[in-house]
Symmetry: C2
Subunit: 343 residues, 2 copies
Amino acid sequence: MSELKNDLLLRALKGETLSRPPVWMMRQAGRYLPDYIKLRQKYDFFTRVQTPELACEITLQPVDQVGVDAAIIFSDILVIPQAMGMEVLMEEGKGPLLPNVVKTAADIDALQTDAVEERLAYVMNALALTKKELNGRVPLIGFAGAPWTLLCYMIEGKGSKTFDKAKQFCFTQPELAYRLLQKITDVTIVYLKAQAKAGANMVQVFDSWSGMLSPADFKIYAQPYLVQIADAVSPDVPVTLFPKGSWYALGDLSKTSAAGLGLDWSVTPQLARTMTNNSITLQGNFDPSKLLAPIPQIKKEVNEMIDAFGTTRYIANLGHGILPNVPVDHARAFVDAVKEYGS
Amino acid sequence: MSELKNDLLLRALKGETLSRPPVWMMRQAGRYLPDYIKLRQKYDFFTRVQTPELACEITLQPVDQVGVDAAIIFSDILVIPQAMGMEVLMEEGKGPLLPNVVKTAADIDALQTDAVEERLAYVMNALALTKKELNGRVPLIGFAGAPWTLLCYMIEGKGSKTFDKAKQFCFTQPELAYRLLQKITDVTIVYLKAQAKAGANMVQVFDSWSGMLSPADFKIYAQPYLVQIADAVSPDVPVTLFPKGSWYALGDLSKTSAAGLGLDWSVTPQLARTMTNNSITLQGNFDPSKLLAPIPQIKKEVNEMIDAFGTTRYIANLGHGILPNVPVDHARAFVDAVKEYGS
């Protein structure tokens, strides 16, 4: 870490008071960048993900072109179901498709949990290569999908407005659900530790669909597995949990060994600070659609957001992934506004 | 009202303490009922909506077959954009499509706001006919979409995961957005008052997409128009507001002239009571997917929900519309569990 020229992200996670917060954007390596779209036209999704040189190139694009304070490795949360033996198809613009979903105990037993590091060696290679290419410019972030969110895809087979098939599976066969969630958790822990060894300076766990769960069901199907991951991985690398839509869990999650919590834009900074008792680094939570507003308005609202969160224990980010239709200069205005804060 | 044999809904709205709460289900007249599906195979969507005899028949189905304590008129929130002159297509299983979206000031100026009662006479006729057919068995609920949610469809033209086009319109042309929201509000007030005159005992305003807005933007683009509607319509009939996903606004909305607030399942009863200072009737908030659980579990969780909300100022309901794949006996188990509460 000492070799990092810009370690704002890590200092924010440690709770240091900074003159301005670090900034990165979820999905910053992606569809709003013309250079990414060029690569997308040449290589299919899994070629981009599984070729370390391509993943590295894509990961560096927003560092070079938008000026973010951290790189996040270009990959996908569905590499875990894939490494566990499930077929995952990714059609451009259509979202993921898992043709053979988990239905039975035998399906769960058949999921592979061994040799995770070998199966996902391409991610670790991409991290190591990117770390080298970054040469200490900014920290490198690794990530994984949360067990609940991966269960959603493994049962449902695709995106859904309600994930009611996944929920039906849990509500009618909870013992099978726990077994599946535990298997995903075990694999994820090995995976995130390997990411740390390969050079990740922080890892983020994306629980993109946790907000589908009631507070009571979140405590059953999401929280215990997030806690296990945070406990197991935190000794190796700081862990940030992003339970999208689960504002109700912020208090509980602030008491785990996680170093950071991601917030969507439904929570005010004031409420998030109160719920977490000022005890954990918060990350977020600019409405991604607000990047479609005029630049002066973006800058004004970024300033208000930082005023409200403060510059201690805070990482500026969006409240969800950047939208494909955001002009690059609007993304840059967001990043610049954070960097210019207080000056 | 005095002629109602079952006036539990109205007594709950007035704040009376009951031995058990009234129960109905959002989308109770719909796709999970075999008799509805039969009508759907014979008549297209707008024929069902615009033919009072059909709308009445569909409205009565859950009263007769599931035993709910209130009927809600079979209709759609998009009848308002339609009455304002926009083309609305409804393809079965595909969601709504508005081919000619609002883009400019001229588009807004061209929207019709006169003769609302005449244009939507079929809704008022359906209400009057249903009221007659109900013969006082249970109260009749009318409804409309909230201005923000209707703006979403009028700008975006269809459903969306993010409604970013609608938000971009608001963030880049706020004055046009306010003009459009006000026009929708004016029409909605006339429409809901006409529903009251035609026999609705309560009207509900569905802000299905308000949760897409940050708390600050909710106060700009949603709340003022909900407040106007509640203020204007409440003298005629009790108004329930359902701002899905906007748990953060419960405190503010509890101080309006609305008689009730709908809740989705992300809010615990305890928190909702605290945020609203026990001052308003709350309605909800069973996870619709939980109706896919085994019946004993449904009944257990319904009991826990009523224990938590209490039997004063509470209307049992789902936290969103009933899912098409819910077995009818599970829907009935939900309703029965409420009716058996405390016995």
